[in-house]
Amino acid sequence: MTTTDTRIVGPLVETPVSHATGADFVISALQSARRTILQFFRTPQLLMLGTVQGALFLFMFRYIFGGAINPGGGLDYVDFLVPGFLVTGILWLGMPASSGVAEDAATGVHDRLRSLPIPRSSVMFGRSIADTALTLWGMSVATALAFVVGFRLHAAALDVALAVALLVVAVYCFTWIFITIGLVSNSAQAANGMATLLVIPLAFVSAAYVPGRSLPGWMQPVADHQPFTVLSNALRSLMLGGSEAVGLGHSTTYWVALSLAWCAGIFLVFATIAVTRFARRR
């Protein structure tokens, strides 16, 4: 550093560092992540929403709609449902990140962070790590409950491990959509509204909760190709013993590869937008 701070500020002289040069990327990302995670676990409303919401939805589909839905191929609806349910958890559990990010922008937290000598991109990476952890927390609770209401795995341990890994990757990549929504919204309410408009069609116009063929014909081309159908098919194939066992046309590898392609695309596009947007000087 060419500048040396020779100013003596009261008792702070005890601090042996003579000049603040700023945290590196990793420390800065972890500190940002820690803040978001503490905020979640110490704010009852957030904790309740993130923990109980999944359980409510699961009960609703398992016991209220489930009786009317026939997944075909001799599958139990609960076995059919849970993989799709976990996949749409990416949406439902990821949504609150939008209002969280918008709130941080509106209350000056972002300005404070942007005024610090840290790599600006680290803040949003920290946020994405935290939001992934929180979504996975909600999914863990939902998964435990899924076993209670009768869900059983029908696959080899390796396939189940792959399913979990795919889910983690997907959660991480899709989180960036919600972060981006938060950054481009003017308020937490606006962010929440925008996220809802995105989440509802993505979650329901898909094969996540019902077999794709039960949707009206005009809806099928959209539903068949959107990422949450692809992810549901991949997870179902991995968890229930292969794509033939769940009545799908392509191989398990096909669905997993297509899922990963979607994840990579979403990550590249939205992480770029979010990081640029946060770092830019207006």
Binding site: R7, I8, A20, G108, D111, L116, R281
Partner: protein
């Protein structure tokens, strides 16, 4: 000596609004500089420029001689920013908040703990350090926010309307905290729309309006420049206000101003003592009872009125605290 802030011809446009329209400003090291101006004058925009949050369309801002446009990272190493909101995390304790910011400034775990403890002490929050910020009063939050901008031991502290929204007690406490800092030698740039605040805290005041610096100087210099002293009368009964106004009209050099709410009539006068004596005689002849009568120097509001032709009104109902760029509104 290099000024702590030197701004030349800074321009920034948001849509159709010129938030900054060629602002020139020099803040010397060693004292508090206050930017005083009404809502929308460009205060926040300017501070954001100094803090490297936005890039001016034209002009240059030097912070301790460093070009904020060309070397933002070096500027961020020597500034601390406390914005218009207490941007501390409500779900973390005071200590956790300060340690986090200290870590972000690059301090190690141990040093961050030491820095956080000493800042809490200085902000008179040591007892509340282990409580969640959610339980703090508004004034405590602002003090913690001020503390958060200090843990990196900045050379320059930027305070954007630090007391807006605080009750009088919180304001007084925050003023005391700021005065302490100054005594320790941190340079401070603060923006305010409260004249009293600028008068209390700053040795150098820059008055800005419509994105331009209109005048600058010490509070005394500004008052001298606004010229005439002011005679102020508060009759006991509001019914006497017109009579007082009439009496003052004969003595003052300009049309008197009547403030009904404060039950007060003021008028600028060319001299001082003679006019006051005359006035008291007239009031006595007419048997008007007064609660207060006095001669005083012009207030900063009158300075503002003299240089801009409009009043500075911090109670502006159109002020929008939610707007991301309030000064551009």
């Amino acid at each position: 000596m290099t000024p702590i802030i030197e701004a030349r011809g800074v321009r920034k446009r948001f849509g159709d609004v010129d938030a900054l329209a060629g602002l020139d400003l020099v803040a010397e090291s060693g004292h508090v500089t206050a930017i005083l101006g009404p809502n929308g004058a460009g205060k926040t925009t300017f501070v954001s420029g100094v803090a490297t949050l936005l890039r001016p369309d034209a002009g240059q801002i030097l912070v301790a001689g460093i070009d904020a446009g060309a070397e933002p990272k070096r500027v961020r190493e020597i500034i601390g920013l406390a914005g218009q909101y207490a941007s501390v995390e409500a779900a973390m304790t005071g200590t956790e908040n300060l340690r986090m910011v200290a870590r972000l400034f690059g301090l190690g775990r141990r040093d961050a703990a030491i820095a956080a403890a000493s800042v809490l002490e200085r902000m008179d929050l040591a007892d509340a350090g282990d409580r969640l910020v959610r339980t703090y009063s508004g004034g405590m939050r602002r003090r913690l926010d001020l503390g958060a901008s200090l843990v990196g031991r900045p050379q320059l502290l930027l305070l954007d309307e630090p007391t807006t929204g605080l009750d009088p007690r919180g304001r007084t406490e925050l003023w005391a905290a700021i005065q302490n800092l100054v005594a320790d030698g941190t340079d401070v740039l603060l923006t305010t729309q409260y004249l009293e605040e600028a008068d209390q805290l700053a040795r150098h005041i820059v008055i800005i309006d419509h994105g331009r610096a209109i005048t600058a100087g010490t509070p005394d210099e500004l008052k001298d420049r606004a010229g005439r002293n002011v005679i102020e009368v508060r009759p006991r009964s509001a019914g006497d206000l017109p009579a007082v106004e009439e009496a003052l009209a004969r003595i003052g050099s300009e049309v008197p101003q009547t403030d009904l709410d404060a039950r007060r009539v003021t008028a600028r006068v060319d001299g001082g003592g003679d006019q006051l004596r005359d006035l008291v005689r007239v009031l006595d002849e007419r048997a008007i009872e007064v609660d207060d009568v006095g001669l005083r120097r012009p207030s900063l509001d009158e300075v503002f009125l003299a240089v801009t032709g409009t009043h500075l009104d911090p109670t502006d109902p159109h002020a929008d605290p939610q707007s991301a760029v309030p000064d551009a509104a």
